[in-house]
Amino acid sequence: MNSLSDMVGAALKAYEEGQALDLARSAEWLQVRDRYAWLSSRLIVNGHEAVAGRIDREYQTLREALLRAATSSAKPKIKDNYPLWEAATEFLLTVKHLDHLGGQIEELSKVKPAETIAATRAVPKRSWIQEDLDEAIAQYQASRAARYKEMLSILDNSQTPERRKRVVRREAQRIFGRNAVADALGVKATRMVSRSPVWVKMADTLGLPRRSRSGPPSGAGQRVGLEIAAEQASLKATETNDYAAADTALLRQEREETLSRINKLARSGGKTGHSNAKAMLQKYEAGEMTDEQVRQSVDLLLETA
């Protein structure tokens, strides 16, 4: 795998004679963004706040310079745009030295990864009163309001390709699906979630599958049903690069959000914040924890901190 500095260097070389907008839209730049998020988290969980702050600052400066250059009426070549070239070079040099240091980032860290992450244990199942459960589900939704709204805006947008909607709906199922909610809240009788009007409304709005025993489908459900039909049709269609790109972008957003939660845990203070975050990052990177598992664990650890 190429190092981050190789990626930044290659992107700059490829676009130095070109325009900022082309660089900002390029696959090379998206790769840089992805790898930068990993490196930033790695520094944060290891307690290297000063260096993490440096690459975050330098990356933001570079992003802003790219944005300014892309929206400016003057269109100098990237290498002739001093603020942009300067920001890119500073970022490149920092990541180059960090790449060169490699394992020493861990060796110089005083943080030891937690041997077990307490919050990854399943929440104990218990009996609920329906009213309490409704309230707990509402809170569960409220604490994920930003993600919920984002998913909804993607699903409600008629311009969103069906392939992308399918990916979002799959993600919604992982977070807001009946079993996910029951597991997160420790509900013994899963059917109580299905009966909860709060969950039913949420599931209908997001177009999540649910068992309906009686009554006509609601307007929202019908709308979603039509979308699902369109989605089924799109499954048969040839997948285009645009769809693949949309999926990649969505997965990248998911990763960035998950990494930002890990960063938040590391920065939450306390004795175990860094060590739990470090262990979690290692498991996430190794594919031993999913996005949702990481997020649930972080939420729980932060609540009990």
């Binding site: 000063a50 260096v51 440096r54 040099l93 180059k96 030295h97 060169h100 240091l101 980032i105």
Partner: protein, 131 residues
């Protein structure tokens, strides 16, 4: 007897900056502008290695001091390049003047490297992969 400076990377860096300064003061400088710019960029790279290492070792304040001086040096280097663009440098007063400003900013970099060397314990540099 020659002194081995390799245990003190800040002093090595200071020496490299001083070499560049001495060379930049010579008459040959005007014929080797491109080489001197590349050389200055290597100094920039070297400084960044020191800055990152100091930050990783909990010396963010010291790193910041070197960083600020390097920022000044970088700006003067750019201004110098712009001032000397499209001119016959030795005959252009603005370009010559900018060379002096650039050399002054390099002196500030060398000065802070020397000061920081007194502040930073030798043990900090153990494991530093000096290039």
């Amino acid at each position: 007897m020659a002194v081995d400076l390799s245990k003190w990377p800040l002093l090595v860096f200071m020496e490299h900056v001083n070499e560049w300064k001495d060379s930049a003061r010579s008459d040959a400088f005007w014929e080797t502008l491109t080489e001197h710019t590349r050389w200055a960029n290597r100094l920039r790279d070297e400084a960044k290695g020191l800055i990152v290492w100091m930050e990783l070792n909990g010396l963010a304040d010291q790193a910041s001091q070197l960083d600020k001086r390097m920022e000044g040096f970088r700006k003067e280097l750019w201004t110098f390049q712009k001032a000397c663009e499209g001119t016959f440098p030795p005959e252009d007063w603005h370009c010559r003047e900018q060379r002096e400003t650039l050399i002054d900013s390099a002196s500030l970099v060398a000065g802070i490297a020397e000061d920081l060397n007194d502040e930073v314990a030798e043990a900090v540099w153990e494991g530093f992969g000096y290039e």
